[in-house]
């Protein structure tokens, strides 16, 4: 159990909540995927119709539900 914990700490995989604007960042992410660019698998994305749609409270909710950080992109 202890050894497992240490190993977990070593290779800490952050969980990042990403709010992506449908028209900008989401399309950018799509393009990154299509052109096979490598990027870390840490993000869990939520597509929003506009990054102005992201209420500050959502960010706090994200942290509350156990994400390590929140990434807003538009």
């Amino acid at each position: 159990m202890k050894a497992g914990n240490i190993e977990m700490n070593k290779s800490f995989e952050p969980k990042i909540l990403a709010f992506l604007c449908n028209w900008c960042a989401y399309a950018g992410a799509d393009l990154a995927g299509v052109s096979r660019l490598q990027y870390p698998p840490a993000i869990r994305s939520i597509r929003v119709m506009c990054s102005g749609r992201v209420d500050p409270v959502y960010i706090i909710d994200g942290l509350k539900s156990g994400f390590d950080s929140v990434f807003v992109s538009g």
């Binding site: 800490f12 952050p14 990042i16 990403a18 028209w23 900008c24 960042a25 399309a27 950018g28 992410a29 799509d30 393009l31 990154a32 995927g33 299509v34 052109s35 660019l37 490598q38 990027y39 870390p40 840490a42 993000i43 500050p56 409270v57 960010i59 706090i60 909710d61 942290l63 509350k64 539900s65 156990g66 994400f67 390590d68 950080s69 929140v70 990434f71 807003v72 992109s73 538009g74």
Partner: protein
Amino acid sequence: MELVRYLLDLSGIGRDRVQLRWISAAEGQLFAKYVAEVTNITQELGPFDPKKFRLPLAAVEQTLNSTRIRWLLGLTKQITEQGNVYNEKLKDKDFKKLLQQATEEEYQKALIIEVLKQSPRSVREMAEKTGLPVYTVSLRLNELERCNQAGLKEYSGSTPIFMGM
């Protein structure tokens, strides 16, 4: 966005837990770069334990939902660009200061409300729980009492015990 980061700093969570980046639809490479960047920042910060920050998180959420902050944010343009009926405008710098001050006060009030939700307490206990100075607690408590959000429950000896409404 700036306000959320300011609040996270206030509450000891740290502003770097929230990141904002602008990417256009044609910039896949930039996206990959930013994701790597954000991942690195988060990795340096280490895991986030929401249980440890339960109280500050609840207070931050309450602050962001508070009428005062919502109004101020909504009126930003009007206050800094259009001016009021006397054509008085606030400079961006002054407005920012005002907003930060209001946010700090609301955050302190929210902390007190959250602590009082758990059980009625004396001022000294509240100060201990929230980590605020005793004087600040009594100032905010006074404001809360005026808005009927907190009130006197009883006296234990000569110490007043307050409760949330």
